[in-house]
Symmetry: C2
């Protein structure tokens, strides 16, 4: 049977409704999480806020974890974009500094979102074929920084990312005082700019 234009338009409208409701759920979940923490993001609470019954949420995401995973994925998208922006405009200082600032600014301004991305135990695939494009894009922004400055870009990128993540996470969980944050980042920059100046003999991870 050939679909009539009417059928098409109905299907399209339904798709739009579906997508907008999906977006709304993610948005509400994010807002509650930032204001009250993830434990307050219950399926009942969400269904109340969007004025639909619980099974509707399950039709969309399959599980509560599915909702959180969708939020986290959105977070990776935004983090990637923020880093790309920082890497490209680059007013003063190095690109490394610029990206580091963008990363930590992102983590500090959306702690619950960052928590969903890295601290909640969501099964988000990393480093394999099923890795979402948002994640690849985000990490590629870091990789780009060291692409032509090092003989082992992956290793340096991973280390840089790990350092940023450590700072962000220990700060988020109140393990590190925010007061010394600037100095910490400055120290990190000294370390990662070293490669430019270092005189080394023998094999090393850094390119000349």
């Amino acid at each position: 049977m050939v679909e009539t234009p009417v059928t098409n338009r109905i299907a399209e409208r339904k798709l739009r409704d579906k997508q907008s409701r999906r977006a709304q759920i993610i948005s509400v979940a994010r807002r509650i999480a930032e204001l009250e923490g993830w434990p307050s993001v219950t399926v009942r609470r969400l269904s109340d806020e969007i004025s639909y019954s619980q099974p509707v949420l399950y039709a969309h995401f399959g599980s509560r974890e599915g909702i959180l995973t969708a939020v986290a994925t959105e977070g990776f998208q935004e983090l990637g974009l923020a880093m790309e922006k920082a890497r490209k405009r680059l007013k003063r200082g190095s690109t490394v500094q610029s990206v580091a600032d963008a990363y930590l600014e992102f983590a500090a301004s959306s702690p619950a979102l960052y928590e969903a991305m890295f601290s909640l135990n969501l099964s988000v695939p990393f480093g394999d074929a099923a890795t979402p494009s948002e994640l690849r894009f985000a990490f590629s922004q870091i990789l780009e920084l060291f692409q032509e400055r090092s003989s082992k870009p992956e290793v340096l990128s991973e280390l840089f990312w790990a350092s940023l993540h450590g700072i962000a996470e220990l700060t988020r969980t109140k393990r590190l005082p925010p007061s010394r944050q600037k100095e910490r980042v400055r120290a990190l920059m000294e370390l990662f700019n070293f490669q430019k100046r270092k005189q080394h003999r023998g094999q090393t991870l850094f390119a000349d």
Copy 2:
């Protein structure tokens, strides 16, 4: 009323029983967590395993979170001891390297314990008057590394800790491939040993 020797001995025995049961609870919780993950550590499950009813656990720890906090505290104690050992024996290589290895070895060999210490949202006080001695001790081991090698030991220590934590955490959550772990640590060492050789002018974080 003056206590008789008998009363004393009874009280002592009761205290011993209490402490050993407390230790048993912590031990069982740890074992389950490492084998099956923290969600499997339910109060009912624990009460089954120690053959007591649930309220007994609440008499000991007040809440489920109290149990996890006790496990985490034990973890900080062990991590501190492991780093102290690494710092003192120091066979080959730098103390920094030795401590880094000990830290990452600890995190890798007890992932659930490390998760309790850093990833679960337990309200463990940090950096204030109420900070448990185990935490102070652990961090002091890192601080010791940079005490006389830097003009700002706190900043460097915090950055070093953050880097190690980032590596440990991203590895634990499968964000970083274990295959390049050695290279990552080697790169970290290059960065943090730089201070020894660097020729710098003007103020810097590193001492000569």
